[in-house]
Symmetry: C2
Subunit: 326 residues, 2 copies
Amino acid sequence: MPGAQRTRLDTGRIQEARHLIDPVFLDTPLYRCEALEPFLGCAVTIKLETANPVRSFKGRGTEVVASRLADSGSAAAVCASAGNLGQALAWSGRKRGLDITVVASRTAPMVKLDRIRALGARLELVDGDFEVARERAAVIAQRDGIRLVEDSLDLETCEGAATVGLELVEAAPAFDTVLIALGGGAMATGIGHVLRTSAPDVEMICVQPAGAPAMTLSWRNRRVVNTETMDTIADGVAGRFPIPAVLSDLLLVADDAVLVSEESIVAAMRLLLEQAGLVVEPSAALGIAAVLEDRARFAGKHVVTVICGGNVDVDAYRGWIGLPPG
Amino acid sequence: MPGAQRTRLDTGRIQEARHLIDPVFLDTPLYRCEALEPFLGCAVTIKLETANPVRSFKGRGTEVVASRLADSGSAAAVCASAGNLGQALAWSGRKRGLDITVVASRTAPMVKLDRIRALGARLELVDGDFEVARERAAVIAQRDGIRLVEDSLDLETCEGAATVGLELVEAAPAFDTVLIALGGGAMATGIGHVLRTSAPDVEMICVQPAGAPAMTLSWRNRRVVNTETMDTIADGVAGRFPIPAVLSDLLLVADDAVLVSEESIVAAMRLLLEQAGLVVEPSAALGIAAVLEDRARFAGKHVVTVICGGNVDVDAYRGWIGLPPG
C-alpha cells in the first residue's frame, strides 16, 4: 500500500496476534475441493473456519480482545452480536474468568443464542435487528463502565481475523482470487490487509447479500450508505450502518464488492453440503454464491473461499436445503 | 509394551511418515465439542479427518505408500477398497504420476466410486463384497507384476494412520478414552501403538458395527473369526476376514472392542449433524454410537473420537438423517 494510503491495521500486530490466539482456532484446514469444481467451472480451495469450539472464525478476534483485557486487569466486557461474535467472546472470556455480556436480536438463530448462554455469558435480547443491539450494548458499556467490544471497529477483531490471511499467504498456492463474506468488515479488512501487503497480485472480492447491501453500496459510492431495512437469511453479515473507519480500510484493500441473491446463497449451501460434505451457515456460502452468479468471471481461475461459520438452526437449515436449486 | 510383546509398527518410522505425508492431511482439527455433551453425559473431543481433498484419514497411509513407491521407481499399484482407500491412493498416486488401479464392490457408495474415477484411477468393479474385491486385486497384482497395497496388512497404512495418534498425544489434554472405528485395523493398530507407547494410561476402545463384527469377535476370542455375511450401513469398516498379523497387533493395543447397532449408528450420525454440524459417514459415527449405547460407562469421562470419513451418498444420507429428498 503506497504512502499515506494505509489501513488502520498493522502487520506486526497481526503476527503478534497469533501468539495470543488459542491454537484451536489457528492453522485451519486449507484444501482443494475438486468435487465442487464441475459445478463452478473453476478451481476451488476451501479455508475451513468451522471446525473449532465455536464453529466460526470469530474466535481469532475474541482471543486477542480477551487476552489483552485479561492482561490489563479488566474483569468484564460487553458486545453486540449477530450470534457468532457473542459465542466467541463468551468462550474466550470464560477461559480467562471475564464476565461477558452479549446483546443480540431476539430474531437471531436460536442455536447461537443457546450456545452463548451455555458458554456462561449473560445474554440480553432486544426487539429489533443487529443495529438496535449495537445501540443497547453501548448503553450497557457506559452504564457499567466496562469495555465495549465493537466488531470491525475494534482493531483486535480485524487483526485477529487477519491471521486467516497469514495462513493463506504462507500456503502460497497460485490463488487468483479470494472470496470473502462481507458484513461489518472485520474479516474483509483483516484478510485484505494481509493480501495487499504480502500477495498484491491476488484479487480480493467481497460478497454480500443483495438483501443487506449497506457496506457494498458504501464501497461502491466511496462514502457510508446506510439502509432502512434488510432482508436476508445470512444473519451473520446483516447490518445497516457501516462504520466509516472500516469503510476507509475496505476501500484500500478490496478489488471488488458484489451482491448475491438469496436463491444463490441457498444453492451454494446445498452445493457445499452435497459435494463437499460441509454444513455452513448462509454467510459462509456467499463466496460460492458469487461464483454461481457469474461463472464467466471466474472461469478457469483458482478461487479460495473462506467458510467462515457453521452455526445454523437445524430446522431452518433443513428447510433451506430441501428447496430446489436456485 | 513389554519385551517380546511388540506390534509390527515402529515409532521411528511413524515419526518419519509425517515427513512423507502431504501437509494437507496432517495436524487436523482437534477440539472440544460441548454442544454434544448434554446428549452423551461426558466430555467429548473431536479429531476431524474429513476436511481434506479425499474426506477421510486414508490419505495419511496412501501418502506413505505412494511416496515410497515413487522413490523406488515403481510406476503402478493396485488396491482393493471399500471406497476411501481407493480415493486416497488415487490422489496420492496422481500426485506422483503413478498408475493406480482400484478394485471395489459394485455396491460401494456411488460417491466414492465416482471420486476414484475423477482422480484418474482405473476402477474395476466386482460382484460381491469387499472380500471379493480383495481377492481380485491380488490376482491383478500378480498378473501385472505390480504392487498390491493391502490396507491394514501393509505397515505403511498402519503407520500413516498412526500419525493421528502422534497428534493426539502431542495435544496432551486429559483424555480418558479414545474411541476408534474398527474395520481392517489399520487405524486402530496405528493409533493404538502410539497410545500404548506414549500415553499408556489412556483407554483405547475399538467400535465395530454388530452387523460386521469379524475383527471384534476375533479380538474377543484371541484368534481369527471369519463371518459368512455382513449387514451394515457402515461400508467403510465392513469386512469378513480379519488378517492374522493385524489381529496380533490389535490384541496388544486395544483395551476393549465393542459392537453397536445400526440404530445407534444412525442416531450418532444425526447427533453429529444437528449438534456439531458435521456430515459423517456411518463408520465415522461409531465412537459416538458406542457412547449412546453405554452412557453409564463413559459418564463424567473425557472421550476423544476420530471422525474418520465423510464420504456419503447424498440420497442415502438424507434417508438416514430424515432430510427431505433432494
